[in-house]
């Protein structure tokens, strides 16, 4: 899903750059409010974690594999703005060091993966959480659905941007991107749910979006 240089037009690049820069500035301010000076080492180490986790490929079906995105995972654990900030740093470094995603398309990539995956889908998670049963099961289902959506929506946004840029007609690129990422999203959802479930069992205080009373009863450290 990392868009290289030349695939999206100047106009799309400019708009997504402006949105991503604005959101990043806001995210820095919000992260500062939440973590204070603790943010520097903590965000650095968690960004390194997302980086390392993205290297673990998971199987999609038979031969093909996808890699973990992690934006919704970071959002469900640490909140939308920290997640967005971490994704911005990770995507920038992937662009500079691995040439994974183009420099001029960096704004687009941050928009697709950091803002849609980290911020928009966080609010989807909050909305789902409020309509589903208020217990651990309902919470994990909303994590699963919103992490699946983070991949599918990110890929669809990417397809729409390619279509607006005139690179590929929408009728072709949207089904192609969406169908592949519907599968990759299942892997993302399975993994995110497993991660959040295990963190809930061991360090429930780290799951920022889980606010139910029974959180402490799962704490094996106390048991």
């Amino acid at each position: 899903m990392h868009v290289p240089d030349g695939f999206v037009s100047g106009g799309v690049n400019a708009i997504t750059y402006i949105i991503s820069a604005g959101v990043s500035v806001f995210a820095v301010r919000e992260a500062n409010k939440k973590l204070g000076d603790k943010q520097v080492p903590l965000l650095g180490v968690v960004a390194a974690f997302i980086f390392a986790a993205q290297m673990l490929n998971f199987p999609v079906a038979g031969g093909t594999s996808g890699h973990f995105l992690g934006a919704l995972l970071a959002a469900s654990l640490l909140g939308p703005w920290i997640s967005c900030l971490i994704m911005t740093v990770v995507l920038t470094i992937q662009c500079l060091l691995f040439a994974d995603g183009g420099l001029t398309a960096l704004g687009t990539n941050i928009f697709n993966m950091g803002i849609i995956g980290g911020v928009l889908c966080y609010y989807l998670l909050v909305a789902l959480k409020s309509i589903l049963p208020k217990n651990k099961g309902g919470y994990l289902i909303s994590v699963a659905i919103s992490s699946w959506m983070s991949v599918v929506l990110g890929a669809s946004a990417c397809a729409v941007e390619l279509a607006i840029s005139g690179t590929s007609p929408l009728g072709i690129v949207l089904p192609a991107m969406a169908s592949v990422h519907v599968l990759i999203g299942i892997g993302e959802a399975t993994i995110t749910t497993a991660v959040v479930g295990l963190v809930l069992n061991t360090r429930p205080d780290l799951v920022g979006t889980y606010s139910y009373q029974d959180a402490r009863t799962f704490n094996t450290m106390e048991a």
Partner: protein, 256 residues
């Protein structure tokens, strides 16, 4: 364990490696942006950009297989999104080529779109590889800082660079432990195992982050990293690099 996947070859010595990080950042960013803005039909311009990059590559004494091998990173996206375009796009005025295989036609405008994305993404990738292979990452961050990037980003990135090796090691140790227990996961239901590995990795990383913060506090950390060296002055070589690169690229873009 051996980590050579980040900025390898960035510590060898050559004319290009000796330049100030700032001029390399400006130079390669400039070339990428100009290249992306070039109309696809000016083939000569792309040729010149490629020759400029080839010149930098020769001066930098980087091994060719390293640069061209890594530049293949761009292929998956091209294959997935762009390779079908020539077959699907319909020309407004008949200019298609009939391949004579069951009515499959290749359209001229579609080929142009394909050429456009392939050449631009390829030159962009080459620029980034040359940048990251000629500047060690900490110096690259300092260069960005000197150019005015907000400090919060450079400090988070420098912490990330410091810990990514440790956490990758941790991930590799877990992976080896898993594989030595006959995991062999190929199907989607094996994802749960990977999920639990990632969860363990997250908790260990987060707790490491907390420990690092406490250790920093006990050493007098007050939210600001100290001991920064001042901004270095540019040397003649830096001016020469920019005064050759920028006029050549701009000239070709505007005149051809």
């Amino acid at each position: 364990m051996k980590h050579s996947f980040l900025d390898n070859y960035s510590d060898i010595s050559s004319v290009i490696h000796g330049l100030d990080p700032r001029v390399k950042i400006i130079g390669f960013f400039f070339l990428t942006v100009v290249c992306v803005s070039t109309p696809p039909s000016s083939y000569f311009s792309f040729g010149v950009y490629f020759v400029v990059l080839l010149g930098v590559l020769l001066l930098s004494r980087l091994p060719f297989h390293h640069v061209f091998g890594r530049s293949m990173a761009v292929i998956p996206f091209v294959l997935m999104v762009a390779v079908f375009i020539p077959f699907l796009k319909k020309d407004v005025i008949g200019g298609g080529y009939n391949l004579g295989i069951g009515g499959i036609t290749v359209s001229n405008s579609g080929l142009m779109v394909l050429w456009n994305v392939v050449i631009k993404s390829y030159i962009g990738v080459l620029c980034m590889i040359l940048l990251s292979s000629t500047v060690p990452f900490p110096k690259l961050l300092k260069g960005f800082g000197d150019l005015g990037l907000p400090k919060i980003f450079t400090t988070i990135a420098s912490f990330m660079y410091r810990y990514v090796f440790i956490i990758t090691d941790e991930a590799q140790r877990m992976k080896r432990a898993r594989d030595s227990r006959c995991f062999g996961g190929k199907w989607i239901w094996h994802s749960k195992v990977i999920g639990h590995m990632i969860a363990t990795l997250f908790i260990r990383s987060y707790e490491r982050g907390e420990r690092v913060y406490v250790a920093m506090l006990s050493r007098g950390f007050d939210g600001d990293l100290k001991g920064k060296e001042g901004v270095q002055r540019l040397r003649p070589g830096d001016y020469i690099f920019l005064s050759v690169l920028i006029p050549v690229v701009t000239g070709v873009r505007l005149l051809v």
